[in-house]
């Protein structure tokens, strides 16, 4: 049996450290924002196999006068991905013609162009949605556990849930901030959606543990201490906490390796979030509940 309550300082310390790093990364690095937040154009097209990235780069810089075009090339599918500031439809058409004349075989795969005004609104909505889901789920937990009376009042379950949910989004958010700072990974609407789904899902395991604590409190409150009951409950539900997340992780891995490339970072965010969700439901939620209970009953 894992001694989770006994070693709570270690487990919570690890969680606190990771969350701290996550918060600092977001605060200092910020996010590299995708075109749906900042406005801009993403253009994906194929050219004949012998065209190199340098050629396309120079075409954009010298012929088309787009200084800050960022071009990536996927050799496997012979596809160029070009990220530029917002291009109008007229520019889109004339650039397409220019590329066609210069390189012959030009096949447009996708073109996405978003004006800057859309992004500000979307940012605000995203933050609102995150807050709604955080608060909504926490309130629901407080409501669902309303019939548990002593020694833990139901709003404590709600608040602990709030903390674990925050834990589960802070870590993937921090990771993406770090990847954006040192690499080129951008966050987009999908990232927000992934965080929301992580919150909705990672609370599943927390609920299972809390449910068991509730049940065990009724069964053996007189015989055992609160700490013992919590520790037993976590251990009894350990297999299902891991297994329920594992099935989702299996599906996510399939999507990551066999699914379409444009869902890559969406799936990656989910994977990180769901994995941290396993940790938080076992090593964060219950110790937090215990500590809070201890300090308030003193």
């Amino acid at each position: 049996m894992l001694n989770i309550i006994g070693k709570r300082k270690i487990y919570l310390g690890v969680a606190g450290l990771l969350v701290g790093i996550g918060i600092l990364a977001v605060a200092f690095f910020g996010f590299r924002q995708g075109i749906d937040f900042t406005g801009g154009t993403l253009w994906q097209f194929k050219l004949s196999p012998e065209v190199t990235m340098e050629q396309v780069q120079s075409t954009f810089q010298t012929d088309l006068k787009i200084e800050d075009a960022r071009i990536t090339y996927d050799a496997k599918s012979q596809t160029f991905f070009v990220r530029t500031p917002n291009l109008g439809e007229a520019e889109h058409q004339s650039f397409a013609t220019a590329l066609k004349t210069k390189y012959g075989a030009f096949e447009e795969q996708s073109f996405q162009s978003i004006g800057p005004s859309v992004g500000a609104d979307l940012k605000q909505k995203s933050i609102l949605a995150l807050i709604f889901v955080l608060v909504g789920i926490s309130l629901y937990i407080a409501f669902a556990f309303r019939k548990v009376y002593q020694p833990v009042s139901s709003w404590k379950y709600g608040f602990v849930t709030l903390f674990t949910l925050f834990h589960d989004v802070a870590i993937p958010a921090g990771l993406l901030a770090i990847l954006g700072h040192f690499g080129t990974i951008e966050i987009d609407t999908n990232f927000i959606v992934a965080l929301l789904v992580v919150m909705g899902f990672s609370v599943h395991d927390t609920i299972v543990v809390f449910d068991r604590i509730r049940e065990n409190l009724l069964l053996s409150r007189m015989k055992k201490s609160f700490g013992e009951i919590v520790n037993e409950s976590v251990n009894q539900t350990l297999a299902r906490s891991i297994n329920t997340s594992l099935t989702l992780i299996l599906v996510l891995l399939a999507l990551l390796f066999a699914g379409p490339a444009n869902l890559h970072y969406f799936i990656l965010t989910l994977l990180v979030g769901v994995t941290t969700g396993i940790y938080s439901s076992i090593f964060v939620a219950s110790p937090l509940l215990y500590i809070w209970q201890k300090s308030s009953s003193r």
Binding site: E89, E108, V193, V203, V208, N243, T247, L250, F257, L270
Partner: protein, 414 residues
């Protein structure tokens, strides 16, 4: 009335088989109700226009928006796109018009036709016989304030009556005055549609175009002019175009990923829970069949995000089974009979299954209201998936266990 698990289970299996056949792309549902695939899977364009309503009194805005939508819808219909979608959206304080065109070839031209007013101009005609030259004048469609469908009083042929603003009226007056007895050509989108001969100087800023219109083409032209006259300009702020080949590629990849994911989940359940895993696998297939049937029946447009959402629910749907199976194992350890363990397992696992699914439903609902249309597809499939999985995990798995475990148990006890 005695509950008959065998009968109920057979019913669910029949419905599931029926649903699977209905959902299978080339099954019997294909002709009557084909799958609705999103633009990101069939290829096409998603265009968002911002409507500038700043010069319009707040009471008139709705009617202006509706008029704008109707006009753009008719213009879009000109491209012969199958099921074009034009709808009004709100983004904060801003009104938007969203146009979705599936599988269109020349998107550049389509965008041009949607966003611009028809190009009308009057040209002077010089020279006769074989070498006719048209000389562009200042008089163009931008001076038009309105158009109307009228009929020639004598021939009853449909005509388009246009009204110029003051400036346009003056130019028209000068143009006609200078060309009395001579032809003046009217060009629409660069094509001459009528070359009438000016009889006299025309004042008052009104003109009739009597091209070779049918009632429909004349009406269309009137609408296009009136759209141009609408005091609410539109600007393209968001465009997403995906080629059909990329769409097919996405579709194939996500279906394969979904299949692999499903197989991995079932494999895991079989390895970890052995015999019980068989039931989880069976319930999962039933879940998939039912959910796909529901998607198709209520006409969910399947987008890439929507399919991703559905595949995620496959990973979540077995969770209820895991909770129940773990509980059954515990109850068996306590020394309960198999039938009692199954019964207790469901009873104890139910509150956490209910609560955890509710939290996902809360998320999906908030997502649905938060979002752009692409995210909405995801939220919708997630929501339906979780709802159906609540049913399938509890009802289907329970019936399966009741029929195949409890029955057997009774026999061995007897």
């Amino acid at each position: 009335m005695q509950r008959n698990p065998g009968f109920l289970l057979s019913l669910i299996v029949i419905v599931a088989v029926f649903s699977a056949a209905f959902a299978y792309p080339s099954g019997f549902g294909a002709k009557n109700l084909p799958w609705r695939l999103g633009l990101d899977l069939v290829g096409g364009s998603h265009l968002v226009y911002q409507v500038d309503l700043s010069n319009i009194a707040s009471g008139d805005r709705d009617s202006v928006l509706n008029g704008l939508r109707d006009v753009i819808e008719r213009r879009v219909n000109l491209f012969g796109v199958s099921e074009p979608q034009v709808y009004i959206g709100k983004s904060g304080e801003q009104s938007e018009l969203i146009v979705e065109l599936a599988g269109i070839k020349d998107i550049g031209q389509a965008i041009q036709q949607i966003g611009t007013t028809p190009l009308l101009d009057f040209r002077e005609v010089e020279g006769t016989g074989t070498s006719t030259q048209f000389i562009q004048t200042n008089l163009t469609g931008r001076y038009i304030t309105g158009a109307q469908l009228t009929f020639d009083p004598t021939t009853n042929a449909p005509q388009v009556s246009i009204t110029f603003n003051d400036e346009g009226g003056k130019i028209f007056e000068e143009l006609t005055a200078a060309n009395i007895g001579k032809p003046v050509a009217i060009f629409l989108d660069g094509q001459p549609i009528e070359i009438p001969t000016v009889q006299e100087k025309i004042s008052g800023g009104k003109a009739q175009i009597t091209g070779r219109f049918t009632v429909d083409t004349a009406r269309l032209l009137v609408e296009r002019f009136n759209a141009g006259a609408l005091p609410a300009p539109v600007t393209l702020i968001d465009q997403q175009t995906i080629s059909p080949s990329l769409g097919i590629n996405f579709l194939n990849k996500i279906i394969i990923a979904g299949l692999i994911g499903t197989l991995l989940v079932i494999l895991f359940m079989l390895i970890y829970y052995r015999r019980l895993g068989i039931f989880a696998g069976a319930a999962l297939f039933i879940y998939i069949a039912l959910t796909l049937g529901v998607f198709k029946l209520i006409g969910v447009t399947m987008t890439l995000a929507g399919l991703a959402g559905f595949i995620l629910t496959i990973g979540m749907a077995v969770d209820a089974n895991i909770l129940v199976f773990e509980r059954i194992k515990e109850e068996l350890k306590k020394g309960l009979s198999r039938a009692a363990a199954v019964h207790e397992g469901f009873r104890h696992a139910w509150p956490s299954i209910r609560d955890s699914n509710t939290s996902t439903i809360i998320t999906a609902v908030i997502l649905y209201f938060f979002a752009t249309s692409f995210v909405q597809g995801f939220a919708l499939t997630l929501l339906i998936g979780v709802a159906v999985s609540l049913f399938s995990a509890i009802t289907t798995t329970r019936l399966l266990l009741e029929v195949f475990v409890e029955k057997k148990n009774e026999i061995t006890h007897a």
